[in-house]
Amino acid sequence: MASTGSSFALPLNPVPNSSAVCTIELNGVCKSYGDFVAVDDLSLSIKPGTIYGLLGPNGAGKTSALRMMIGIIVPDSGSISLFGEPFGHAHMDRVGYLPEERGLYRKMKVLDHLAFLAQLKGLTAPEALTRAQRWCERFELSAWTGKKVEELSKGMQQKVQFIGAILHGPDLIIMDEPFSGLDPASTVALKDVLLELAKSGKTVLLSTHRMDQAERLCTSICLINHGRLVAEGDLNQIKAKHGCCNIQIKYDGDAHFLEETTLVQSFNDYGNYVEVRLAPGADAQEVLRLASAGARISKFELMEPSLEEIFIDAVSKPNA
């Protein structure tokens, strides 16, 4: 059953509603392969209309977590619910999945392939074909719809696969490293579509190890490391919790202020500017005063901690 009413043209009125049931909820999910623990007691919940980032370094258990969400593997313990109901294969028609390992039938024609994928998700053949055609137009693949997949470049194949994941108008879109291997223009096109989808009330779950990408796109995140949850929730809240403790300073002159250990915990000189990490409890204004006493300041900027820093910070804590 395809989600009814989800047409190609995405309505732009924001639907999200804080009281709505979570699109997906994981509760104490564990998965191990033999002795290796891939996912350890993972809990998270994703609300409709959000772009949610599942972040972590390589081998953190992201892909295992995603595979459990679409039922390719079954958790050893814990529960997964989709659209407010316990996980079931019947939900799969409302989910679109782009795996990290891309793969298409090489000998199939692009349009036929897309139609096949959409039909598996419950669309009728004519409906699948018209939608495939329109999405191909949007991703500038119109000239290639009659070609075999193997004749396409890798980037184009990836666009085809992306279309395959969203063609049936899923309510939940799960993408494993969606941007890897795309050129800048395609990255923008793909990002725009994801934003549109989220605005129209769909839920987008991205898994990536590129924290900077997630930082720009996601409203909520889940950081995992070695299969364990490090931080989860609204991105702004997570950032606020970790406080604002970095300053970027561009100066000319005396650099003695950097050695004031009561104020500066550490600093990183990038040549054009230094990035200063404040000591706990230090006031940024104190640093500015001290610095301006001996040097000409051309730039002084309080910086939000990057996700990367939050992650490194969290992971390096002994109890994390």
Binding site: V74, Y97, Y105, G122, A165
Partner: protein
Amino acid sequence: MRNMWLITKREYLERVRTRSFLVLTLLLPAIMTVAMLLPAKFATIGERAQHVVVVTSSPQFGETIRQRLLFTSTVTDDEDEAGPEASATRPKPDKQYIIDVDSNPTDAERAILREKVMSRAIDSYIWLTDDAIATGKVTWAGRDVAGFGARSRLSEKLNRILLYTRLSKNGFPADQADLMLKPIKIEAVGIEGGREAKDKTEAKFLQVLVMVMLLYMTVLLYGISVMRSVLQEKSSRILEVLLSSATSTELMAGKLLGVGAVGLTQILVWTVMAGAVALPSLAMQAALSEFQIPPVVLAAFAVFFLMGYLLYSTIYAAIGAISTTEQEGQQLQLFVVIPLVLSVFMLLPVVKTPDASAVVWISMIPFFAPLLMYARIVVQTPPVWQIALSLFLLIATIAGILILCARIYRIGILVYGKRPTLPEILKWIKYAKA
């Protein structure tokens, strides 16, 4: 179910639309035709008429012998089937011989004849002088007289001719002598269902043989293609996308049916082609009517062929699921070939004693049933419960392997690299229990 059909359709169309399918479908019958016609052609090339010289004491007797040799039939000859009237009304000269008469029974002539044989002017001569007949020692001398069939045929003919001449010399009327000497053919008759029936051993053997050939060919051709397609799907990594839409059992079943249907299509095309070529020929029709296949056997053929095909394809699919490369898969093919070869080995005892208890139980084993149970049905229809039980076991085995293999398949995609060990496979099956 819908997903399974979508996958079946895709698999089917992808294969049928390829050029190689078209080429194989059209080319194989051509190759087969050539392969079948050529040996026959060669056989007839080698089989030219034998040039025989009959040496007698008198030209009249020589001529009589010549006529008799050309027009006397033997038991093994087909003309006898048409009845004495037929051969009387339209006598056909024996095409195997060109016979000359020589009424100069001297040693010098014999030496000349020997020379002629050596120089290949003639093939052989028969020393049939009155003396020779009186002593009962007739010589047939030639370059190539060792052929058993040819010798027994010629000696049978000569014996009859000489008996005839003896009888007529002793005043027996010619027609009575002929009648007395008419060979008697012994017809083997089997008793089936309380009635005498013409023995159809040959026809039955052929029915079983066709099954063996067809099963072998399709299993090896299309089973491998199932295996290859499973492997391809694993290496193309599309599996993960499909698994987010369909269950692995749906995928597996769809693939089997799709590839299976391709094989059946091809066989159907070939059957139609063979029928179109063979049916108009009268000879073939006569052969068919002799082989009259009962409808039960025809139905059993269809059912057991399909089951066997499905079973072995499923095993191939399982092999594909646990292998990572085609070479590995080919090594594991043993699991398909061994049961097939074993059932061919057991075919003879089964046909000989179709109701021995060991045979009954062996023919129930799903891996042997397609060939052996079918062979039993052909030879002597077993009780219905036995057929039903063997079919049930077959279907259960196919379903069981399919489900196991779908599990292996699902977990197998997560593991690339070396082939899993048996304990690992068992673990996968456990992991994939849902």
